[in-house]
């Protein structure tokens, strides 16, 4: 009975591709740990994480400046993107008539699809000279934050919109029935009910911002200094890896992998927070 044979064969093949995928995922973790952990041992966890001097030539590897750089641009981009993104999400979920939504939604989708180098290029050509007018040499935390804002907006908009839409209609009807205006309903009923989803969207946006590489290299200047004002240059963790990996050897290379581990832990923590917050949101809504 060949068809039973085929059936069993297919089952094995399909199971094997499942296993292969899992092995690949595992291999990624193993390889990065294997190459990065020696650096922690060599340099010392404390010196590596809190050292402020990164001079591979002199065997000094401290990534605190880069951690600060990443954190600062991420916060900067969120300060710009969160108010805009939530406004846009409310617009899409509640306020806009059908026609406006049909224009706006593809725009948001397209924002996701634009390659990060294109954002970087536009930032380099338009933003950097504009920032230079204000002060400094233009390659700055400010320019980087604005570029990142455009890149995290779609994440914040689409997940916030979904969570506002997921609020049971009875909430809205109840609010309107007791005489609240549309705006009062949005602010005092819908947004609080959707707050865990909106929170998750911000955390996921944060993850995207921390992980962004190419656009950051292009506009942030990549100098290893603590930025004191938004007009100062900085360097991010991702930029540090990308700029130096091609010529690094020995401890230097290992230190870059260790930078990758730090980045990975950041992202893992952010994603877990987002997942928990989303789950709690749906749980709260199904309870009522």
């Amino acid at each position: 009975m060949t068809r039973y044979f085929t059936d069993r064969l297919a089952k094995y093949i399909v199971s094997i591709s499942g296993a292969v995928s899992f092995v690949i995922l595992l291999a990624i973790a193993v390889f990065i740990l294997k190459d990065g952990l020696p650096a922690f041992k060599e340099i010392g966890v404390f010196d590596f994480l809190f050292g402020t001097v990164w001079r591979p030539g002199q065997e000094q590897y401290g990534i605190l400046t880069m951690i600060v750089g990443s954190v600062v641009v991420t916060i900067g981009s969120l300060i710009l993107a969160v108010p805009l993104g939530i406004a846009c999400a409310i617009l899409l979920a509640e306020v806009a008539p059908f026609k406006v939504r049909q224009v706006l939604r593809p725009c948001v989708e397209l924002l996701v699809g634009i390659p990060s180098v294109v954002y970087g290029l536009v930032g380099l050509v338009l933003l950097v000279p504009a920032v230079r007018e204000i002060g400094g040499n233009g390659f700055s935390v400010l320019a980087a934050s604005i570029v990142l804002m455009a890149m995290v907006l779609p994440t914040i908009i689409s997940i916030s919109e979904d969570s506002i839409r997921a609020v049971p209609p009875s909430y809205k009807e109840g609010a309107l029935a007791i005489g609240a205006t549309h705006w009062q309903t949005i602010r005092q009923v819908l947004l609080p009910a959707a707050k865990s989803g909106i929170g998750a969207s911000i955390v996921l946006g944060m993850g995207r911002a921390v992980g962004e590489t190419m656009a950051m290299i292009m506009v942030i200047g990549n100098s290893i200094v603590f930025p004191k004002t938004p007009l100062d240059p900085a360097r991010t963790l991702t930029g540090n890896i990308a700029v130096e990996i091609n010529y690094a050897t020995g401890v230097h290379e290992s230190a870059l992998f260790a930078t990758g581990i730090v980045l990975f832990i950041f992202i893992l923590a952010l994603n877990s927070i987002a997942v928990i917050s989303l789950k709690r949101g749906t749980h709260a809504q199904t309870l009522t």
Binding site: L153, T213, M214
Partner: protein, 270 residues
């Protein structure tokens, strides 16, 4: 309310500035000549993008050829075969986690395994294998969704006729889910074209015509990066960027059209 409309307005404005600026600056320089001549000697910024288009195409084809069998197989396994035990939950968790990991970390991995340990050096092969790892979560998740969205009655109907499970999967589920699976593949092609960071550290960036799997290359997005950062040839960078954006818009439109048809089909047969 002004605040809310303002948010939407600014979002559209950002899109218009980014896309509009690149297209307006870039499209005038896109000529047949630009598309068909190789980039002139290394870093000069002269010439066109012919070899870059070939490299991009080459890389995408190799990536998809490796990615689709593994990803689709894993998706079928997770959707139809996998028992609900600790191992499958672990696989699912792994897939979900990796979907959020930044590109540069995949780049590090590709650099350590393919470029260094396996001695593929900076090459199309290294780049493609790295991309496979990066895209695997997307491919698995999207095609698993497509397979799962086939109405349950289809499965029961087929099994009631006495076919084996594989016959049910291959003759009923896969053909019905095909547009969804094609959408998943196109989505991955789009992301492969957009991707830069993980290729920056695995592909090498040679502007020469790739002759084999082991020759280096640069994709359109990498070319934009090199032109802007090393050559400072902004006009060429804009033109390449415009080609890139037009490609992405075409891919987006195709995906939307396909998934619209897929949803219609699912509703029609449910």
């Amino acid at each position: 309310m002004v605040y809310i409309w303002g948010g939407g307005f600014i979002t559209v404005l950002i899109l218009l500035v980014v896309i509009g600026y690149v297209l307006v600056q870039g499209i005038p320089s896109i000529t047949l000549d630009f598309l068909l001549t190789p980039p002139g000697g290394g870093l000069s910024g002269e010439g066109g993008i012919s070899t870059v288009i070939v490299s991009t195409f080459y890389l995408v084809v190799v990536t998809i050829v490796i990615l689709v069998p593994i990803g689709l197989g894993a998706a079928i396994y997770l959707a139809e075969y996998a028992p609900d035990n600790r191992l499958t939950r672990l696989i699912r968790y792994g897939v979900e986690t990796l979907a959020g990991v930044p590109s540069i970390i995949f780049g590090l991995f590709g650099f350590a395994l393919f470029v260094t340990a396996l001695h593929f050096n900076f090459s199309i092969l290294s780049g493609a294998l790295t991309l496979v790892c990066l895209l695997l979560p997307t491919m698995i998740r999207t095609s698993e969704e497509a397979i799962k969205s086939v109405p349950y009655a289809h499965r029961e109907g087929a099994l009631a006729l006495g076919v084996t499970r594989w016959q049910m999967v291959s003759r009923v589920l896969l053909p019905t889910a095909l547009p969804g699976i094609v959408t998943a593949i196109i989505l991955c092609i789009g992301r492969a074209i957009e991707e830069t960071a993980c290729l920056y550290v695995t592909l090498g960036g040679s502007a020469a015509m790739p002759s084999s799997l082991l020759s280096g290359g640069r994709t359109l997005s990498l070319h934009v990066f090199y032109l802007a950062m090393e050559t400072r040839a902004f006009d060429k960078a804009m033109a390449t960027g415009a080609v890139l954006i037009i490609t992405i818009i075409a891919i987006n439109t195709l995906t939307n059209w396909l998934s619209y048809r897929f949803q219609k089909r699912m509703r029609g047969t449910a």
